[in-house]
Amino acid sequence: MKILVGYKRVVDYNVRIQVKPDGTGVVTDGVKLSANPFDDIALEEALRLREKGVAEEVVVVGIGPADLTAHLRNGLAMGANRAIHVQTTDAVSPLTAARTFLKLVEKEQPGLVILGKQAIDDDANQTGQMLAALWDRPQATFAGKVEIADGKAKVTREVDAGLEVIEADLPAVITTDLRLNEPRFIKLPDIMKAKSKPIDVIELGSLGVETADHIKTTHYAAPPKRSKGVMVKDAAELVAALKQKGLL
């Protein structure tokens, strides 16, 4: 079986982002970029399935500008067999990303697609579900545990009410939650090895994907600031302050 893994590059999760004063976006120039944390978990899970003999090949897929290639090398250094770089300079909506993945799925015929449950930049949480819909295949979102056997995936999902277990026939789309696994670190020799692994570069325009976007972002703003708080010196003062606000 072949596994496709979505590997998005985002502003590093430790960066406190700034909104541009003119409201046209957030400042990304000179800001540290990293793999979306959920995508590292997706790749780790795919690699573990390969190590268990469930999968033979793990392919990382990125959609973005020319310099995304360096980012995909990180995925190769972590252990992916090869990478596909769908090149575009435009920002891509979750629907366009899902349509792009569908084209790759038709070409690559994977048994499983693993994506992160959400990207920490747009926080959309849509692409995996959309791909599953367009592909007409099962989705197992927010996966906390994945077991593959006999052409089926048994997935434990982290839902509001607790843990839901579902069974899905393969091929299927799985999206990862935080607790699925602990991604491995990249070792120096693997970075060297990754340099010789293949990266296919495909122009998004050549895939025949409809990219029209009917949702436009018209303005960016900083969130409203909370007014400055007060410090109290002990429990009694805290209780008094809360009672005064009518909260206790």
Partner: protein
């Protein structure tokens, strides 16, 4: 004609409070009609509850045995059929809505607006990105159907004095059998529901152990609060996953939020930014949680919590 279809969330024959919050957001669009759709194997009790929500014009029920569990792959094609004639489809931004709505949107050929926090017009919405560190205004083409999930923490639950008519409908949709429900392991709790509770007490890594978490539970029970946790506390195994508050857990907006032994990483703050009053109790006076706390108390939680309980009588 603006007509909104709100997808009801329910479990064990009970309507989830998130549905009434999605109805509040729908009402903010000022539509001509708000209909709620209940998919279930036995929708009657849930539909009766939904019919009481003020502002609801009609409750539609789709009773099929395949709808016994909320599987997105099974629900989505039915919602798509039922959505004909509607200008908007809303679902709560809970794990149920996040799983289902994008599948519906893709089948309808549109992108989705995730986590609507305010309605600026019938096709203009505000939503948070970058863990709530930026708020964007998005505009949907007036000619497309709007599929959106509603950030429950931003909307009050609509009141329940109404009596909307209930109508059983059948939808002509082929349902897949490729996805099957196996089981739901629920965390048993008699405490208030984290997402709807007016008061929440949360513990973090500073609590130190699973056993120590008992003092958090005890204090929460004393003031009638729900209990939450930071990711660190969940990862350390002190409490189950469903208690996690933050960007990747639950986003809540209680009147009172008390963070105990929580440093306040960006991802945690995202989950509580809209709380009415935030109280932080932490032994590290430099912890980032104090930057957003309305009331802060620096000290050892194991000393402060018993004192708090004592002063509450």
């Amino acid at each position: 004609m603006t007509k909104i279809l709100v997808i009801a969330e329910h479990l064990d024959g009970k309507l989830n409070g998130s549905t009434a919050r999605a109805v509040s957001a729908a009402a903010a669009v000022k539509p001509d009609a708000i209909d709620v759709i209940v998919l279930s194997d036995a929708p009657d009790a849930v539909a009766a509850e939904a019919a009481k929500i003020d502002g609801v014009s009609k409750v539609l029920t789709v009773a099929r045995t395949e709808n016994a569990h909320s599987l997105a792959a099974v629900y989505a094609p039915q919602i798509v059929k039922a959505a004909a004639g509607y200008t908007h489809v809303f679902a709560p931004s809970t794990t149920f809505g996040k799983d289902l709505a994008p599948r519906v949107a893709a089948l309808l050929g549109v992108s989705q607006v995730s986590d609507v926090m305010s309605v600026e017009g019938p096709h203009t919405f505000k939503r948070p990105i970058y863990a709530g560190n930026a708020i964007v205004t998005v505009e949907v083409d007036a000619s497309s159907i709007v599929v959106a999930t509603i950030r429950t923490a931003s909307w009050p639950a609509a009141t329940s004095n109404g009596s909307a008519p209930i109508e059983a409908i059948s939808v002509d949709a082929t349902l897949p059998s490729h996805t099957r429900f196996v089981e739901l392991q629920q965390g048993k709790s008699d405490r208030p529901d984290l997402q709807g509770a007016p008061k929440v007490v949360s513990g973090g890594r500073g609590v130190g152990s699973k056993e120590n978490f008992d003092i958090i539970y005890k204090f929460a029970d004393k003031i009638g609060a729900a209990v939450g946790a930071s990711r660190a506390a969940v990862d350390a195994g002190y409490v189950p996953n469903e208690m996690q508050v933050g960007q990747t857990g639950k986003i809540i907006a209680p009147e009172l939020y008390i963070a105990i032994g929580i440093s306040g990483a960006i991802q945690h703050l995202t989950g509580i930014k809209d709380a009415g009053t935030i109280v932080a109790i932490n032994k590290d006076g430099e912890a980032p949680i104090f930057e957003i706390a309305d009331i802060g108390l620096v000290g050892d939680l194991f000393k402060i919590l018993p004192e708090l309980e004592a002063s509450l009588g």
